[in-house]
């Protein structure tokens, strides 16, 4: 049961219950749909990208606590960042969750409060829940026409 608290930390539950930047972004100039075919989670990420900077970002969709909280915190983390900075953050977040088990993640400082998701690594089937929003962000940044997928 102690593992449960690692996964469902207060910060995650807070973002699940009150997701930030939730809803459509009217003046979005980039958007992408994300889909986890395994569980059916779907979300859309909207970006207002100006001169390579994420001026605004919102998301919409339905998913589990982990995927909703991750999407919510992703929007907070990338707002104001350049495209390159957001992409680096995505890669670090991804590495934190998919790196070898039992090895401490060395770039925690750079992820800030996103490290709250490090516990998800111990729940392999839930890693995709945490990364869906980030895959979708990545697709939106790259203007991909195909929906992002966790597969």
């Amino acid at each position: 049961m102690s593992d449960l608290r690692d996964l469902y930390q207060d910060l995650i539950l807070d973002h699940t219950k009150r997701p930030r930047n939730f809803g459509q972004l009217e003046n979005a100039n980039c958007r992408a749909d994300g889909h986890n075919p395994l569980c059916g989670d779907k979300l859309t990420v909207f970006l207002d990208l100006e001169k390579g900077v994420v001026k605004d970002v919102r998301f919409q969709g339905s998913g589990c606590a982990i995927s909703t909280a991750s999407a919510s915190m992703m929007t907070e983390s990338v707002k104001g960042k350049t495209r390159a900075e957001a992409e680096i953050l995505f890669e670090k977040f991804h590495r934190m969750l998919t790196g070898p088990q039992g090895v401490e993640f060395e770039e925690s400082d750079e992820l800030g409060k996103l490290v709250v998701f490090s516990g998800v690594k111990e729940f392999p089937v839930r890693v995709k829940c945490a990364t869906l929003a980030w895959h979708t962000l990545n697709a939106a940044l790259k203007h991909q026409s195909e929906p992002a997928s966790t597969e």
């Binding site: 049961m1 449960l4 469902y8 539950l13 569980c39 059916g40 779907k42 339905s62 998913g63 589990c64």
Partner: protein
């Protein structure tokens, strides 16, 4: 091997609510373990059921003592294997009350059975403008093969709707049947909702239009006594792994006259009578549909599983599981925020539910941390989820080795979920 019939008291084999579950559980080695420091509570039986020692031992013994290829050797082991393999065919015939053993085709599972009907039976007969009729509560395996055919042939897939209790709207079904209908394909028991469909009536009405009927029996076969002649269905498919048997083995039953009229599904060894480069003559049914070396050990395991189920008695299993489902339904509804999907009058062994404000995947993870295995997701029945406007459900599904104490553990587990999210 000591069958259950030898160890159980005679009264335990009659339809009764007092199965000796403690004794039955001793037969399932996997149930003895702990998950996350708690005793395993396995409630994912609709996905797949666990295997009794009798099945595991039968497969081990077959590989250790009798194994060889079938239908093609004069040596002793090949004869033993062939005999054992064909004996299971007869056993399946009796289990589902088919008229003849040649009406039993061994396939990989329900999915392959459905596809065999789609591509072996319907494809050569289907034309543009024809219709295939399925229900709104089908598993993807009884949707996608028909969509593939419709796309190829320009035919139409028509859907029988169901009401909020998850019962098929029979009037709508009658209206959908017409002279363009070429096949009705309906599940016996819904995997996502537990509804037991009125198969006999469905078949009767289809036959008035001379339309053959395929029944997807994947969820029905472990819970209900199935009599394909009484149902009068034309095809019936099921999987071994949901019936306490191995994976990778299943059965397609078909009426002999229909099977004989069908083209082979796959070409290869064992399905031929003679082969030259100019012409091949196909073997008779059932061998015409069993190309290549089949899952021989799987068939042996399936036979042991049927033996096991029959030693308890399918009626006794049905009655016990019905009581367990009623108890679980009652208890789970006491929790505030629970919504059960599927409240058909005729229902089997499946409890699909949602918790207000909690996604089913979180339910699944938190229950797993308490040793409780359930399924969370769309259950390969996305149209059912759409019908109820939910992205997914949590599903507890029961087998005869489950107990009321395990239901209590589930209910307590759900209360913990609610606490985490309160």
């Amino acid at each position: 091997m000591k069958g259950l019939s030898e160890v159980l008291a005679p009264e335990a084999r009659r339809p009764t609510l007092s199965l000796d579950v403690a004794r039955i559980r001793e037969d399932f080695p996997i149930l003895k373990q702990q998950i996350c420091g708690r005793p395993l509570v396995y409630l994912d039986n609709a996905a797949t059921s666990q295997k009794p020692r009798q099945v595991i031992d039968a497969i081990t013994r077959f590989y250790s003592e009798d194994y060889s290829n079938i239908h093609r050797g004069v040596h002793t082991l090949s004869q033993r294997s062939t005999q054992a393999y064909e004996a299971v065919r007869t056993q399946v015939q009796h289990f589902i009350h088919a008229a003849e053993d040649r009406e039993i085709i061994f396939v990989r599972g329900t999915t392959e059975g459905n596809n065999l009907v789609a591509f072996g039976y319907l494809r050569p007969r289907l034309q543009a403008g024809d219709e295939i009729l399925i229900s709104g509560m089908e598993h993807h395996s009884n949707i996608v093969p028909w969509q593939m055919l419709c796309e190829e042939k320009g035919a139409r897939l028509c859907i029988i709707p169901f009401n909020d209790d998850a019962e098929l709207l029979f009037d709508e079904y009658e209206k959908l049947l017409n002279s363009r209908t070429r096949l009705v394909a309906v599940t016996h028991v819904s995997n996502a909702l537990g509804t037991v469909n009125p198969i006999r009536r469905i078949v009767e009405h289809a036959h008035r239009w001379q339309v053959p009927v395929l029944i997807d029996g994947a969820q029905a076969i472990p819970h209900l006594a199935v009599d394909v002649q009484a149902l009068d269905c034309d095809f019936y498919s099921f999987s071994g792994h949901k019936l306490y048997g191995p994976t990778g083995i299943g059965v397609l039953y078909g009426k002999a006259s229909l099977l004989e009229s069908m083209s082979p599904f796959q070409g290869g060894g064992d399905m031929i009578a003679s082969v030259t480069f100019e012409k091949t003559t196909y073997n008779k049914i059932p061998h015409k549909f069993e190309a290549g070396t089949p899952n021989i050990a799987g068939v042996i395991g399936l036979g042991a599983a049927i033996d096991y189920v029959q030693s308890i008695g399918i009626e006794a299993i049905s009655a016990y599981e019905e009581e367990l489902l009623a108890y679980a339904t009652r208890e789970i509804l006491k929790i505030h925020g629970v919504r059960i999907l599927g409240s058909a009058k005729e229902k089997a062994s499946v409890l699909s539910f949602t918790l207000e404000g909690v996604h089913p995947h979180d339910v699944g993870t938190i229950l797993d941390q308490q040793g409780i295995a359930i399924r969370a997701g769309h259950h390969c029945a996305q149209p059912v989820m759409d019908r109820f406007e939910v992205p997914a459900t949590a599903r507890a599904s029961f087998a005869f080795y489950n107990t009321k104490e395990e239901v209590d553990a589930l209910v307590n587990g759900i209360r913990t979920v609610m606490e985490v999210f309160s």
